[in-house]
């Protein structure tokens, strides 16, 4: 079960192409959870490191694993039976599973020339499924936007909020209360976004909010805390200096990742020829500190109906100082109504 075939370290495209396409119908039924597969991997690898390299897949796991090639051709069948839970293919690519969420990880989501917010929805529903306590700083869209999409992915944000699993900071609403509600400001708690109207440009109030929301109360039984930010570039537009933003992230990492053993997922925008130097500074700095970078780019040749873009997954193994290089994988993806399919470059369903 733990045998290490030589072809497991090959280029992922070649590896998938060589695998036998055996599909086990029971594994297919619940696309999001595959207990046999994860259990077998757990036995083979007792202590997965935080920044996980590509592990050799056991023969048992390979039988249940279906190549993305075929999956992209049969997406209609894979959605039958059970609610679609987050993006199952992305979980496979990241070797992640809701049963065993990793701890102490900083994931950076980056998009260029396209919209990477589908990844935010994925991680939100992933961590809620995993039973973690989530603090979601949603700066750009309203609560109902996220709720409607999360329901398509099988998670209810209102229910999660009611049972105390989700702390949702709706940036737009909070900003309106701050801007137009003069009396409430003195009486109530300080607004987490108070840096917008005050002259101080540090994000301490926002950090205090995050810390208070994620510090576990004695009655909590959730697994590790998770901070999700959508998106960080908006803070720069609202008057925060890049140093303040980086300080905020640093403080959050200390509290959430190191002390509370949780995870952080942050979305930023970047452009290649961007003239927004402050944004580029923040993005580059965060890239150096992240354990996992998911970089979503629109195709350089323009818009295509069948391939919406390309995702580059970088596992920062070099941060573990074992002398290994970062592992980079590139896939292309297509977004559908409730799911996102990933496939090797040049092998979209439209081409095959």
């Amino acid at each position: 079960m733990g045998e290490d075939k030589p072809c497991s370290r090959m280029n992922p495209t070649h590896r998938e192409a060589l695998e036998l396409p055996s599909r086990n119908p029971t594994a297919d039924g619940n696309a999001g959870h595959n207990p046999d597969w994860t259990r077998s991997r757990g036995e083979a690898n007792p202590a997965p490191p935080a920044g996980g390299a590509i592990r050799p897949r056991s023969a048992h796991a390979r039988r249940y694993n279906t190549s993305p090639l075929l999956r992209s051709l049969k997406t209609a069948c894979s959605l039958r039976g059970g609610s679609p839970a987050m993006f199952a293919e992305l979980n496979e690519l990241l070797n992640a599973s809701p049963q065993r969420p990793e701890t102490g990880k900083f994931t950076l989501l980056r998009d260029t020339r396209t919209d990477g917010s589908f990844l935010v929805h994925h991680f939100l529903s992933f961590y809620l499924r995993a039973g973690c306590k989530v603090c979601f700083v949603a700066l750009l869209q309203s609560f109902s936007h996220y709720n409607i999409i999360a329901q398509k992915l099988g998670v209810s944000l209102t229910a999660a909020e009611e049972r105390g699993q989700l702390v949702f900071l709706e940036g737009l609403k909070s900003c309106l209360d701050l801007w137009f509600g003069e009396q409430e400001e003195q009486s109530g708690k300080p607004s987490p976004l108070q840096f917008i109207s005050k002259s101080t440009s540090d994000l301490k109030a926002l950090f205090d909010f995050v810390q208070v929301s994620l510090t576990p109360a004695s009655s909590d039984s959730w697994k590790g805390p998770v901070l999700l930010v959508d998106d960080l570039s908006v803070l720069l537009s609202l008057g925060a200096t890049p140093v303040a933003v980086l300080d905020f992230i640093h403080y959050c990492r200390v509290v959430v990742c190191s002390q509370l053993k949780g995870n952080i997922v942050v979305l930023v925008h970047s452009n290649e020829d961007s003239e927004d130097e402050e944004n580029e500074l923040v993005v580059n700095s965060l890239c150096h500190h992240s354990d996992l970078i998911l970089w979503v780019e629109g195709l350089a040749t323009g818009f295509c109906k069948d391939v919406h873009g390309q995702i580059k997954i970088t596992r920062r193994v070099s941060l573990e100082l074992t002398g290994e290089q970062d592992v980079v994988q590139i896939y292309q993806y297509k977004i559908q109504d409730k799911n996102v399919t990933f496939f090797a470059r040049g092998l979209s369903a439209a081409v095959l």
Binding site: T114, D115, S117, F118, H121, S142, F143, S144, H145, I148, I149, K152, L172, K173, C175, L176, W179, F180, I196, S197, K198, S199, S233, V234, L236, S237, L238, G239, H269, N271, S274, E275, D276, E277, E278, N279, G302, F303, K305, I335, Q336, D337, K338, V340
Partner: protein
């Protein structure tokens, strides 16, 4: 149909606007709107049916459409007037803000809507320009036979979206029942010389206060459950960011306060999301020297459309563009309540201004059709 109705009922809540009087009607009861098939959100017409096609059906309620002005601001002010004229015809409330012209004079110059008989005349005039063999199958360019045609000529009658005659102005009778509010900056400055606005350009601060006051007083944010007849507020802001608003981003590479405009847009976004309103802003993007600001502004807006006119540029002599007056760049399409960001197939669009009509079309298709017509 049931799915669309369910989607519409859910989609209206997407502006986090809780409709208290939800009894009875589930579909859109507000005049001049229709639910989107794609994401169930209520859509408004922008006043220009070909622009509605480009935007995926129309402007969604609760969103912001940013129009990057062309060099002399001529065509963007036409789009601005179309938006307001559509509001008059549909019976929506209007809020017009400008620092340049008094809103009264803007509203006096709205184009007149076309009635049915006049629409047929205009339709003939429009199609006479193009080749007559539209309906016949193409012999050479047969691959392009099935591409969707843009609605450029008013031959089909639509209840959503109207056509306007630019050579005539709207008659005052149409305007009588409309409730409209205006914000003219020099007037506001003289009425209230000092207003406390924190950490934002004072003109923008005043404008925000004014918009928020109208929204809450008139009950567009659902604060007045007694009001049975829901209506939409169309907000139009002209030339935001120009020097007349007291902001120097258009004349200096290192402006004094680069965050005012983006903060304004963020607070406005919050106001729009929680009310039954839609906003169109024209911005002189070509004048803003610090491109970082335009990038941030684009990220904070839902839909961004840029106009580039050929006046004075070398493209005027390009044979591909000989019938057109400028290009339309769609820079951003909103992603609302769904994972998919539906980008229109046609990305290279051009506009032309005929004597009475302003249309947005795909120039390549017309070029191909005209070339095919010439061969035979």
């Amino acid at each position: 149909m049931a799915a669309a109705a369910g989607g519409a009922a859910r989609g209206r809540g997407a502006t986090s606007f809780q409709r208290k009087a939800a009894a009875g009607s589930r579909l859109a009861t507000v005049a001049g709107t229709r639910p989107s098939v794609r994401h169930g959100q209520l859509l408004l017409s922008s006043g220009l049916p070909s622009l509605d096609c480009v935007l995926g059906g129309g402007i969604a309620v609760g969103t912001l459409l940013l129009i990057e002005e062309d060099k002399y601001g001529f065509y963007s002010s036409l789009l601005f007037k179309y938006f307001l004229a559509e509001g008059v015809v549909c019976g929506h409330d209007l809020f017009v803000a400008s620092a340049k012209e008094h809103p009264d004079s803007i509203l006096k110059e709205l184009p007149a809507p076309l009635l049915d008989e006049q629409r047929n005349e205009l339709g003939e005039e429009a199609t006479a320009v193009k080749s007559e063999d539209f309906q016949d199958s193409m012999k050479i360019a047969w691959r392009y036979q099935n591409l969707p045609k843009m609605e450029a000529s008013p031959t089909t009658s639509t209840k959503f979206g109207h056509y306007y005659d630019l050579s005539k102005t709207m008659s005052p009778e149409l305007f009588q029942p409309i409730k409209w509010h205006s914000f003219y900056l020099p007037e506001e400055l003289s009425l209230q010389p000092t207003v406390k606005t924190r950490s934002m350009n004072s003109a923008y601060g005043r404008l925000l206060l004014s918009i928020q006051r109208i929204i809450s007083q008139e009950g567009f944010d659902g604060s007045d459950p007694q009001k049975k007849q829901k209506n939409i507020l169309r907000i139009g802001i002209q030339s935001l960011g120009s020097l007349l608003w007291g902001d120097d981003i258009c004349c200096s590479d290192t402006p004094e306060d680069i965050h005012s405009l983006t903060k304004f847009l963020y607070v406005l976004r919050g106001l729009l999301r929680k009310s039954l309103s839609a906003c169109v802003i024209t911005i002189p993007a070509h004048l803003i020297e610090n491109k970082a600001i335009m990038e941030r502004v684009t990220n904070l807006s839902d839909t961004v459309v840029g106009l580039e006119s050929f006046i004075g540029s070398e493209r005027e002599t390009n044979p591909l563009y000989k019938d057109y007056h400028g290009l339309v760049h769609v820079r951003r399409i909103p992603q609302l309540n769904s994972l998919i960001c539906d980008v229109s197939d046609m990305k290279d669009l051009a506009f032309r201004l005929k004597r009475k009509l302003f249309t947005i079309e795909d120039p390549r298709m017309d070029f191909i059709r005209s070339q095919a017509g010439e061969i035979f």
